[in-house]
Structures are given as C-alpha cells and as structure tokens.
C-alpha cells in the first residue's frame, strides 16, 4: 500500500508540473499525451506502455482546440491517469489470469480496462480546469489594486499565483483520481468474467481505429480523401518493395 501511495504521489506531482504547460505556462507541448505518458511510464518502470498509451491518446485528442473560452478535453490528465493506473495495477498482478495471458498481453488488457474506466473522468478534470479559471479572476483585481498603490511587482506576482492555483488543484485531482482508479481497475480484474476480459483485447483495436479516425478529422479538408487513398496505395507499393513481399 505504501508503494501504491508513493507511486500515486509521483504521478500526481510530475503530472501536475507537466499539466502547467497545457494552459498556464510555456505551451511547448510537453503536456501532450505523446510526451507526458512516456515520462510517467519511465518513472514507474514501463516506458513502452507509456509510449503505447501516449500514441493512442495523442491521436484520440488531436482535435481538441482551446478556442476562446471553450475548455477542450483534459488530454494531459487522462494520459497521466491511464498510464499511472495501468502500470501500478499491472505491477500488482493477477494470479487469476496467469495461466491464460502472458505478461505483455495482460498489460494490453489492463490498459484497455483503464482507458474504458478513465475516459468519462474527463468531466471531473474539465470541472477542475473551470474552477481554476474562476479562482484566477481574483488575482486580476488584487494586481489592479496593487497597481493603484504603484506596486509594479504585484502584477508579476499575481500572474504567477495563477500558476500556483493550476498546480495545486491539478495535483490534488490527480492524486485522488489515481488512488481511486487503482482500486476500481483492480476490483474489475478480480470480479469480471473471463469473456469480458478477453473482449478488452478487441477494445484496444477499436481504440486504435477511433484514434486514427480522430486524426483524420483533424486534418480533414478539401481533397483530403483522394489524397489519403492515393498515399495508402503508393505507400503500400513502396512498403512491399522495401520488405520484399
């Protein structure tokens, strides 16, 4: 239990630091799933699982645009949660299925189950994001008051306080959700029937196809359909020639 607590703390801390990049600071894209998930994976000892989750989620959430006041799905938190929970749960191990699945097969099943369980949590993550933006209004007025007293440093300080609120609320949310997620997914693997567990493998393929569809939607425009099929046709011929099939 101590190890699970420590690992959840680690996921929450690194996750909330990387989450800052999403809105509050930098925006150099270290908060995107393709970067964030392998980082969490590396810390918990399974970079390959992190890369796999990162790639699928990157394509799945490729189209979420933060336009104006609209808050898109919180892809960073979902990537942290899915990676963290999958690796922690897989480390716990399940003797119930050891006769049936190998280690890597089991990881795919755990990732699929975690994805299915954690995707609706996006509603909570969005609420937290909204709460931060409501709280930040206060800092604007404090800075304005400070400027009235000719305190120039107040502007930079209050701007940075917003960064602090983003960090604290993201940290608390990630910590609680990681612990809750580990319990829920472990519970599922203890009690779900074998047929349902085996169906999770199919889910991983469905998730991959949907993520590619989501990517296609992000680049969709005039002439994209013929271009896609032409590329597939010529790419296929090139791959066949290169691989000698």
């Amino acid at each position: 239990m101590d190890l699970i607590l420590w690992q959840s703390f680690l996921v929450a801390f690194v996750g909330s630091v990387l989450s800052l990049d999403r809105t509050a600071a930098l925006q150099i894209m270290i908060s995107r799933p393709i970067v964030a998930a392998p980082v969490i994976g590396y810390m918990l000892g399974d970079t390959a699982a992190g890369l796999l989750i990162g790639c699928v989620l990157e394509l799945l959430f490729i189209g979420g645009l933060p336009v104006g006041a609209y808050i898109p799905p919180h892809e960073t938190m979902i990537a942290m949660l899915v990676t963290g929970i999958s690796i922690i749960v897989n480390n716990i191990g399940f003797a119930r299925f050891s006769w049936k699945f190998g280690e890597s097969d089991m990881m795919i099943l755990v990732i699929s189950a975690t994805l299915l369980t954690m995707l609706p949590i996006d509603i909570v993550c969005k609420r937290v994001d909204t709460a931060v933006r409501v709280l930040n209004t206060r800092f604007f007025y404090i800075a304005d008051k400070d400027l009235g007293k000719c305190n120039i440093g107040g502007i930079i300080l209050n701007n940075m306080k917003g960064l602090g609120v983003f960090f604290i609320l993201n940290f608390l949310t990630l910590f609680v959700l990681t612990l809750a997620g580990v319990m829920v997914v472990s519970f599922l693997f203890k009690f779900l029937p074998l047929t349902v567990i085996m169906l999770l493998a199919l889910f991983s393929i469905i998730a991959l196809i949907i993520s590619l569809s989501s990517a296609y939607n992000a680049v969709y425009g005039k002439g994209s359909l013929p271009l896609l099929f032409t590329t597939i046709f010529f790419g296929f011929i090139m791959l066949i020639l290169m691989r000698g099939r």
């Binding site: 509050a24 600071a25 930098l26 925006q27 150099i28 894209m29 995107r32 393709i34 392998p38 970079t47 790639c55 490729i62 645009l65 006041a69 299915l116 995707l119 609706p120 933006r133 709280l135 604007f140 800075a143 400027l147 009235g148 000719c150 120039i152 502007i155 930079i156 209050n158 701007n159 940075m160 917003g162 960064l163 779900l192 029937p193 047929t195 349902v196 469905i206 991959l208 196809i209 949907i210 569809s213 989501s214 990517a215 296609y216 992000a218 680049v219 425009g221 005039k222 994209s224 271009l227 896609l228 099929f229 032409t230 590329t231 597939i232 790419g235 296929f236 791959l239 066949i240 099939r245």
Partner: protein, 264 residues
C-alpha cells in the same frame, strides 16, 4: 528603443501570458505582466510606469503565440506615446482590433494544422524509431512556435502597427491548408505502418501482398467512415462507448445467466 536584455525578459514573460487566465479578463493580467519589463525600462518615473501599465489591465484574449507581434507593436507604440507622437487611445484600439483576427489565425495555423502535423509525425516516428519520435514531435512543433514568439516580438518592436502587414505577408491561413494536406499524406503512411506492424505483432505472421492490400484498404475505409460519424456531432469518447459498451453489458448478463443456470 528598449534594450536587448529587456526584450529577452518580455520574450520569456510571454510564455506565462496565460498563467492567470480567467473567464472575466482572460489574458488581461498576463499581457500586463509580459509587457511590464519594457514599460519599466521606458519610464524613469514610477508614477508614469504605473499609469502606462494600468492601460493594459483590461480584457485581452488572443492566441498565446500570436500575442508576441501584438506585444512588440504595443511596446513601439508606448514609445511613441512617451515621445508625444500619438495618443494612448491608439494602443487600446490597436489591441482590440487585432485580438479576434490574430486569435483566429493562431488557432487555425498552430492548433489546427501544426499540432496535428507534429502529432501524426511524432506517432509515426514512435512506431519506427521508438522514443526518438517524442523528440521529433517536440522539435517539429516548437520550431514554428518559438519562431513566431521571437520573430513576432522582434518585428513588432521594429515595425509597430505595420507588423499587421508582416503577419499578412506570411500567409499563415494558406499555409495551414497546405500543412493539413501534407499531414493527410503522413496519416496515410501512419495507417499503413500501424497495420503492417499490428498484423506482425498480433497475428505473429507475415501476410502475402494481396492480403496486406485488402487489410490496409478496408482499415482505411473503416477510419474514413468512423471519422464521418464522429464529425457529425458524435464525440470521440461517446463513439468509443457506443461501439463497445453494448457488447460488454451483453457478455456480463450472459455470464450471470450461465452462473445462475449452473446453480440450478
């Protein structure tokens, strides 16, 4: 003219323009915090500095990267105000008139085309070179990002209001459409590589030419059809559950029925 060191401070502050983003004033405080070093450098009198900064404590919202040309131009205009060449109203009307269009240009170019390009290229590279793909993703995206932040600020400081012509000359909207077409080509290659690798890993065998062709072709049709369904107002997350949960629930019910029937 502000010093190069001050410009570097404004450049670094521009990375925190959204730190205190809120629904009421949006990036208002962030913009004031970013421009503060330049205004501080311009005026020796503290009262004047505060008055100038107070002008920027208003509603402001644009694309975070496209704020840099506006920041640069506003710095130049503040210098003009100090020299008595223009009035302060010019600055607020300049900011207000550019917020909307620059927000739209930034969203279309950076969020709508460069990010998908970097993502698709990143995932494709991960499939081929593993962890290097993450680096390729970051480099591809940030070349454009940092270029806009730095050159936008630099040109803005130099050209003032004429920075609008400079941004126009970049034809970012036209480039966005071209980049999206290039990304579509990359997506086609990604789809092929994913299918080739997937079949090798999952089935543990190599298929012959026409089987591979059929697998690729039908997967592409699947992707395009699903994309059309998602585009017509069905969210990505909802489509996952609509495809999967009914089968899931059916299997659980069947399992319960089987267990109950074994009891009797």
């Amino acid at each position: 003219m502000i010093s190069r060191f001050t410009m570097l401070k404004v450049f670094l502050n521009s990375f925190f323009i959204q730190s205190s983003w809120n629904f009421e004033k949006m990036q208002g405080l962030g913009f004031a915090a970013a421009i503060a070093p330049a205004i501080n450098d311009m005026h020796q009198d503290k009262e004047q500095t505060c008055r100038a900064l107070k002008r920027h404590m208003v509603f402001y919202n644009a694309h975070p990267y496209m704020a840099s040309p506006i920041l640069g131009a506003v710095i130049k205009m503040e210098e003009d105000v100090k020299a008595g060449i223009r009035g302060t109203d010019d600055i607020s009307s300049f900011k207000e008139s550019l917020m909307g269009p620059y927000g739209a240009i930034g969203d279309t170019f950076f969020w709508g085309s460069i990010r998908p390009l970097a993502s698709i290229l990143g995932v494709l590279s991960v499939l081929i070179w593993g962890l290097w793909g993450v680096g390729i993703f970051l480099v591809t995206y940030n070349i454009f990002h940092i270029w806009m932040r730095w050159s936008g600020l630099h040109k803005g400081c130099k050209l003032g209001e004429s920075v609008v012509d400079y941004i126009k000359s970049l034809e970012l909207i036209q480039w966005a459409a071209r980049v999206r077409l290039f990304s579509t080509m990359l997506l086609g290659i990604l789809l092929l590589v994913a299918i080739f690798k997937g079949i090798d890993i999952f089935m543990g065998q190599r298929l012959i030419g026409y089987q591979m062709f059929l697998a690729s072709f039908f997967s592409a049709i699947c992707v395009v059809l699903l994309a059309a369904i998602i585009r017509n107002r069905l969210s990505v997350l909802l489509s996952i559950y609509l495809l999967f949960l009914p089968t899931f629930i059916f299997l659980i019910i069947m399992d319960i029925i089987l267990r109950v029937s074994k009891l009797y």
